[in-house]
């Protein structure tokens, strides 16, 4: 039985503002095992960045409201400062969204690396740097990058340096926050291959890949979590999400993906009308109801509970069974 690296249970993280709480992460639950790449997908503002930041570093006005996030048994939410510091980098690590300004402009790369690891009582000697250079070589970086200042590196190089630095201590969980979003397709592919490679070589124990691009997750993720307005509306193995989605939002996402070979005049590309709801002091009810073609009064009054379709597949929707049956009938009719 593969080891459970991350167990999130009913996690709630809100933002405290003058006008009340913004319920950005409102009771999410899922788990990750060693050796897995799990994709967290959703549109901008759905709470995925809040979540991944909230796991590692919570700063005002972000506020932990309830639930648990167990990393190898340690609760990340109730750990004190010293415990968290120890867990960071060694057990859980993060590749931040912007490689551009994640570096201090006045320090050389090697200074940064040695300072970071020394904080965890690792000696940054020639042995250590040999390992660093090996990893650099894996990502097509030359050793002289170590002696450079960030200004001397291109954006792509900085991205790769960041990937190496973040994984230097072989963390059990690596959170990759939209690392492919700003890249062209070729670089995207390269970065994804790197992640799979790192996983295989056991440089990282598991990867939580945050993105809004389902097509990438299709290629590398074992499991996909669909997040919408602070809720996990559907969690399932990748092939189920892509080929047999049950939640209306997921379905809409899949159909809005362009398919190779399909022309516009044959099949119009459909987006999802509307925008996500504002999360400030949002009340009960399904948060997708404003854009859902199947919504009714129940969706407005009651927040849908998390239902397990099977051991691997969970969903938050009042009417998923009905919708599923209708579709079945339609497809069998044809």
């Amino acid at each position: 039985m593969p080891e459970k690296i991350l167990e999130v249970k009913q996690l709630k993280i809100y933002y405290r503002t003058l006008q009340g709480f913004v319920k950005a992460v409102d009771g999410i639950s899922f788990a990750m095992e060693r050796g897995q790449i799990v994709g967290l997908a959703g549109e901008s503002g759905c709470g995925k960045t809040t979540f991944c930041n909230g796991l590692i570093l919570r700063k005002k006005p972000m506020q932990y409201m309830g639930g648990k996030a167990l990393l190898l048994g340690h609760d990340l939410m109730s750990a004190n400062k010293a415990e968290m510091r120890k867990l960071r980098y060694t057990n859980i690590s993060l590749i931040p969204q912007s490689a551009m300004d994640s570096f201090s402009p006045t320090k050389k790369i090697k200074t940064l690396v040695s300072d970071l690891v020394r904080q965890h009582h690792i000696e940054a000697d020639s042995d250590f740097f040999r390992k660093v250079k090996e990893r650099f070589a894996q990502v097509n970086l030359t050793p002289d990058v170590l002696d450079s200042y960030p200004i001397e590196l291109s954006g792509g190089m900085k991205q790769r340096v960041l990937m190496v630095i973040a994984t230097m201590m072989n963390p059990d969980l690596l959170v990759a926050d939209e690392i492919s979003s700003a890249l062209d397709v070729t670089s995207q592919r390269f970065v994804c291959k790197l992640l799979v490679d790192f996983l295989r070589k056991k440089f990282v124990g598991s990867v939580l890949f945050i993105t809004h691009d389902l097509s990438i997750l299709y290629q590398i993720a074992a499991k996909i979590i669909i997040m919408y307005a602070g809720h996990l509306v559907e969690v399932a193995p990748t092939k189920d999400i892509i080929h047999a989605p049950k939640h209306p939002y997921t379905k809409a996402l899949i159909t809005s993906l362009p398919r190779i070979g399909v022309r516009f005049k044959d099949h119009k590309l459909r987006g999802i009308g509307g925008v996500p709801p504002k999360l400030l002091e949002i009340g009960p009810g399904c948060r997708f109801r404003f854009r859902c073609p199947f919504a009714d009064e129940i969706c407005e009054q009651k927040t849908p509970p998390v239902e397990n379709i099977n051991r691997e597949h969970s969903i938050m929707c009042h009417h998923w069974k009905k919708i599923d049956r209708n579709e079945h009938e339609h497809s069998t009719k044809r």
Partner: protein, 330 residues
Amino acid sequence: MGKYFRKKVLVYLITFVLAITINWMIPRAMPGNPIQIMLSRITVTPDTKAKMQTYYKELFGLDKPWIIQYLNYWKSIFTGNLGRSISFGLRPVGDILSNAVIFDFLLMFPALLLSFIFGNKLGAVSGVNKRVDNILMPVFYFLTSAPYFWFAVILSFIFGMQLNIFPLGGAYGQFVLPGFSLHFILDFLYHWFLPFMSLFAIMLGQWAIGMRNMIIYEMGTNYSRFMEAMGSRRGLIRRYAYRNGILPQVTGLGIRLGQFIGGALATEIVFQYPGLGYILFRAIIDQDYFLLQGIFLFIILLMLVANFTVDIIYMFLDPRVRVSFSGGSQ
């Protein structure tokens, strides 16, 4: 490096030429004969007046064409001939000012350097420690808003007059001979301390406030967050923040030099410290034109040298400046 300096040096050169030109032009642009104007203001014996008239006539060369006068002026500048001072017994202006500048340097340079070092350190502590912040900031606000000379008066009053610890004026005692003797140096320091202190205290506040804000800003940047996410302690992050925050402080140093020099000159007046400020004070009262013109030049030179030094220091501190011209990114 080349481009960075080329622009700056150009600015300095133009400024220098502009200053000299203005200096040359103004007396000639005033209505009337400049020599007569000057001489009409002083009261000396008719004999001396005649001597001065001839001297100045030669110096000014008013009978020659303008371009020759201009070039002659440049020549005289480079030979150090800036005329003679009427308020200091007809001593050459160049002499008087060169001596004064040495005293200025001895006062301004340590004040600038030490206040910068300690001010920034205090500001950094203030930026991360709320208690220190609440105690120190009001003090620094007050100091930063106070005019240099007024604070000088307060120090002079309290420590000089009332408590009688420090002398009230001059750079050294009446009966002490300047030289490199220990006696002189100690005496000098004794006189130097209060003017130094008043400059130091006020600048200290300025740097501290600046660095405090920079530290707060830098510790909220993405690189700070990244380091914290990687499990670094606040001390390390603060060191990185400090290293970045010092850059705009150095730039600020360059910008504040003008205000600082003005304040230092005023402070010298309060303490009768024989730098440019005190000389200026006398020159204004005596309407000593050559001296005033000389002071104008010297102040500008002082600014140029100071600015240039700051630029060099900045270049060493900011890798982005250094690196952009040696190859660049791959």
